[in-house]
């Protein structure tokens, strides 16, 4: 006999808005004529804003529903809002880009909605099965989005590479979940945590092996080294707004899920996973930043830099403290704003049929558009962690948290790789401030793009100057 669990509708309200909106919009889109698909995008924007409004009302709400498989707390609400903000900005950046590249189809906005719904579900999941489902949901939408510029061969190739590596990672993920289920008899994080100390012999081994496989699966999605190989290719080939969306939102959601798995489900095994994660973080920082240093293609550089940033994001779960969680949320917010602003500048300069995003195309930008240069400067300075941007406070918060957790070596490594990162970020900036080296590429400055860029840039500055309110929520 299966009894239906009591459902707390306030907790699922946000998900209902997103998935309901997405489903309705999918049908509604059929009635919107082909030339006016921008309408779908703006409607999707409304749905995202509605979900964000629900998220704002959730501030301070904690609770669980669906038999403890979905949970809401300030951390989840905050990361959810970051994902929604990323979705909203990505839609703004994409609205006119799609038309310009002649790939304007209504599914785009709907897919973004389903994707962000998957992310919200992943963030709120307190059960491994829900995590798997939401991860599959967001992955499959992202595969399709990566190939959205079909039949453009690079986009096609990006989608296929992403799909194959992603499906491969799913295999590890579910194998891990199966082992954990076998060891503990449950897939709910709280129950797993309760069963943890009582495990003996082979069952303890199953749980540990399952955890490692699960981390591998999530590590693929968050592009942690050594599971990062797909990242540069996919970001390079995917349509630029999609790359922007993937690089921030899915990373935020996956990092939140990883944090929940490690801290809630396997807090007791911290002695096992913390050193492993520290090594992964170190490798991620080094590979990402050194990889970015040698790139001449700006999109690939941003891809490697996002790998490097993921290394910093891991400091949150490694610290495993309130400070670490605060720092993680702040880092995610700052990184989202900065990375989206950087991609927005690329979108403003990308005409149809561009294949190689060479750095020379940014040269002389200052003379042509001080506004774009300012946005680029804020974005890159924030990614590099130069004050007074959000990135600085974020990096400092992370360094502080891991130092407190007893990993001074990670602090030193974080600082060293930041110096490497500064070299390649600021190199781009100096080129943008310098003289033009190639024929000036066309520039696009329609209002949704400008609005998205301005909001991202504003967030960088506001979070940098007044970080207090976001740093002390937990």
């Amino acid at each position: 006999m299966i009894t239906l669990p009591v459902i707390d509708w306030t907790i699922v309200a946000q998900l209902l808005v997103v998935f309901g909106g997405a489903t309705v919009l999918l049908l509604l889109d059929l009635a919107i004529p082909a030339g006016r698909k921008q309408v779908t995008a703006y409607l999707a924007l409304l749905v995202v804003l509605g979900a964000a409004a629900v998220g704002v009302m959730h501030a301070g709400v904690s609770g669980a529903t669906f038999g403890g498989t979905l949970r809401l707390d300030p951390f989840r609400t905050a990361v959810g809002l970051v994902c929604l903000a990323a979705a909203a900005l990505s839609i703004l950046l994409a609205v006119t880009f799609l038309g310009r590249h002649q790939i304007e189809r209504g599914e785009f906005a709907v897919l973004v909605l389903f994707g962000v719904g998957g992310m919200l579900l992943l963030v709120q999941a307190a059960d491994l099965v829900v995590m798997f489902l939401s991860l599959a949901l967001l992955s499959i939408t992202l595969y399709v989005l990566a190939g959205f510029a079909l039949p453009e061969p690079r986009s096609e190739e990006a989608a296929l590479k992403y799909l194959l590596t992603g499906a491969f990672a799913t295999g590890f993920l579910v194998f891990g979940i199966a082992l954990i289920y076998g060891a503990t008899g449950s897939t709910t994080l709280a129950t797993i945590a309760a069963a943890g100390p009582g495990l003996t012999g082979e069952y303890r081994l199953y749980a540990a092996a399952g955890l490692l496989l699960l981390v591998v699966g999530l590590g693929y999605k968050a592009s942690l080294v050594p599971f990062h190989m797909w990242t540069p290719d996919v970001y390079d080939g995917a349509p630029t707004p999609v790359a922007a969306f993937m690089s921030v939102a899915s990373k935020a959601a996956v990092l939140a899920a990883l944090t929940h798995v490690l801290l809630v489900g396997f807090g007791e095994l911290r002695a096992l996973w913390a050193p492993i994660l520290a090594v992964v973080a170190a490798a991620t920082l080094l590979v990402g930043n050194i990889g970015a240093l040698v790139q001449q293609n700006v999109k690939r550089m941003l891809a490697y830099s996002s790998i490097g940033q993921a290394g910093f994001l891991l400091f949150g779960p490694i610290a495993a403290s309130d400070r670490g969680i605060d720092a993680l949320v702040f880092y995610l917010a700052g990184y989202t704003a900065a990375n989206l602003a950087a991609f927005a500048v690329l979108i403003a300069l990308e005409a149809r049929g561009e294949t190689e995003w060479s750095m020379a195309r940014l040269s002389g930008l200052w003379q042509r558009s001080p506004g774009l240069t300012l946005a680029l400067a804020l974005a890159l300075l924030s990614l590099a962690g130069v004050p007074p941007t959000a990135g600085f406070i974020a990096k400092f918060a992370m360094l502080d948290a891991v130092w407190q957790a007893g990993y001074p070596a990670l602090v030193v490594l974080g600082v060293v790789t930041s110096a490497i990162a500064a070299a390649y970020y600021l190199r781009v900036l100096l080129r943008a401030a310098g003289p033009a080296e190639t024929d000036a590429p066309p520039m696009f400055g329609d209002w949704p793009l400008r609005l998205g860029m301005a909001l991202a840039a504003l967030a960088i500055v506001v979070l940098g100057l007044a970080p207090g309110w976001l740093l002390s929520f937990s």
């Binding site: 130069v386 007074p388 502080d400 001074p408 110096a419 600021l426 207090g468 740093l471 002390s472």
Partner: protein, 509 residues
């Protein structure tokens, strides 16, 4: 708010920043308006600095005229700015050099004049911030803020090799300064764990360290000391980290705009006093002999290389390396004489080297070359430039009665009687001083003396603007030389306090 109920110190930071904003907002066609805004804000900052001197209580050692606002309360991070005897004159120097650099920028012309002035003003605001920040993280914020305007000034208006130079500058100094972040995190956490109070406030941290509320294990203290040392040694730069400085000076615009604004003011040396010496006296005493050796090498090396150069800016760049060696020697004498000598020398060398960079810029603009061999015998044509150059050269090599002498002498005295250094350091460093006399006088002789070169067209003397700039720099050179006590009196309590703490620490060892 502070005891006078008016945020005077903050004003000294805010005015240049506000000026930068106004200049940026002025339409491109309104050159005169933009210049007016720029100069007005710079002069306003200077007036504020003078007001600070007037308000400063010379009998007290601690931080004065404090402005404080919480920034991230949960972390104990605050916007706290103040002045003490060590920072006061450096603020005055910064605000004095800002109008001069603006005038130099007008004089040199060049592309994007508004942006250049805005960046110069931002740089001035950030440097003032570095000197007055009383919160460790705020100090770091201002310290980093100086980087970007400087790099852009070099990268946009620099000479042939500007992009590489700007990049080298950024990478070196950013890499150096992030290491300081490790030190700040470490100190902050140590203080938080041991006292339960998480704060970045320097006054609190200093008090806890002195009263023994926070006990740093020897190893930890040395590590933290090293983290700060690396940042400041690169920034200074201390030999062997000097290569960015000479590249940057050579590639910076010939006009001397950047040289005077960015490089001559010694943020690194200030940081050494404020953090390394004041917070970690034990580690400072431990490391002093080794750092002294590096400093002496810097003095000799800078002098030696400068001697062989023909490019006037390279000569001055290496002279700067040499001067900095001497300043570091003074700081790590760890006694009142050494410290106040170093402070005086920071100010004096800032002014004299800055003035020489400007003169080189003026000459280079007239003859489109910085090679000493393209000049010669121009005294007759440009007697005003010549005489100012002579005064600055003499002040720089430490002629009694001018600003350089008193600083150099006090440093030597301090290092000689210092228990951690001693007479050997001084006797070797003296060779560097002799070298300085040789290369600077050689440059002066080759450029201004001798028979006029046939090839060169007649050379114009300084115009009104140039005379004004140099005149502004001449006044403090003479004042400090003739009446150094004006500065020393205000430094005295702060310097004595630091030295006293070090003395106690050393005695208790």
């Amino acid at each position: 708010m502070n005891q006078i109920g008016f945020p005077l110190v903050s004003l000294a930071i805010a005015l240049p920043a506000l000026g930068a904003l106004l200049v940026w907002l002025t339409p491109a066609s309104q050159t005169r308006v933009a210049r007016g805004f720029a100069m007005l804000s710079a002069l306003g900052a200077l007036a504020t600095a003078v007001a600070l001197v007037a308000r400063f209580d010379a009998s007290q050692a601690g931080y004065q005229l404090v402005d404080s606002v919480a920034w991230v309360a949960a972390w104990g991070l605050s916007y706290t700015v103040s002045v003490d005897g060590i920072s006061l004159w450096l603020v005055v120097l910064t605000t004095l050099l800002t109008p001069v650099s603006l005038m130099a920028s007008w004089n040199a012309g060049g592309a994007h004049p508004r942006l250049q002035q805005a960046l110069l003003l931002l740089l001035a605001g950030a440097m003032t911030g570095v000197f007055v920040a009383q919160d460790m993280l705020l100090f770091y914020v201002f310290f980093e803020l100086t980087l970007v305007p400087t790099a852009l000034l070099i990268g946009i208006w620099g000479g042939d090799d500007r992009r590489r130079a700007a990049q080298t500058f950024l990478v070196y100094t950013f890499a150096g300064s992030v290491v300081m972040l490790v030190g700040i995190v470490g100190l902050y956490q140590a203080h938080g764990v041991q006292t339960g109070i998480y704060t970045f406030d320097l006054a609190t941290v200093l008090a806890s360290l002195q009263l023994g509320a926070v006990q740093l294990p020897l190893e930890t203290e040395r590590m933290l000391f090293a983290a700060f040392l690396i940042a400041f040694a690169v920034k200074l730069p201390l030999w062997p980290f000097h290569s960015w400085l000479t590249t940057a000076h050579t590639a910076a615009p010939s006009s001397g705009v950047v040289d005077i604004a960015g490089m001559v003011i010694k943020i690194g040396a200030y940081g050494l006093i404020r953090f390394n010496v004041q917070l970690f006296p034990q580690a400072a005493a431990w490391a002093a002999p080794a750092i002294g050796v590096l400093a002496v090498i810097g003095v000799l090396y800078g002098g030696w290389i400068a001697f062989g150069q023909r490019d006037m800016k390279r000569i001055l760049a290496f002279a700067t390396v040499s001067h900095l060696g001497l300043i570091v020697l003074g700081i790590f004498a760890l006694n009142p004489q050494g410290l106040s000598g170093a402070l005086l020398q920071m100010i004096s060398s800032g002014i004299t080297t800055g003035a020489l960079f400007l003169i080189v810029g003026m000459l280079a603009a007239r003859r489109d070359s910085r090679d000493v061999q393209h000049f010669g015998g121009i005294w007759g044509q440009a007697p005003f430039l010549g005489s100012i150059a002579l005064v600055m050269v003499l002040a720089s090599i430490g002629l009694p009665g001018l600003s350089g002498f008193i600083g150099e002498f006090t440093i030597m005295l301090g290092a000689w009687i210092s228990p951690v250094l001693g007479w050997t350091y001084v006797s070797i460093a003296v060779i560097g001083v002799v070298l300085a006399a040789a290369y600077l006088l050689r440059m002066f002789r080759l450029v201004f003396m001798g028979p006029p070169r046939e090839a060169g067209a007649p050379l114009r003397d300084a115009n009104t603007l140039e005379s004004l700039m140099l005149g502004v720099l001449l006044v403090p050179t003479l004042v400090i030389g003739l009446y150094p006590n004006a500065l020393l009196l205000m430094m005295e309590p702060s310097v004595q306090q630091i030295a006293q703490q070090i003395g106690q620490t050393l005695a208790s060892r």
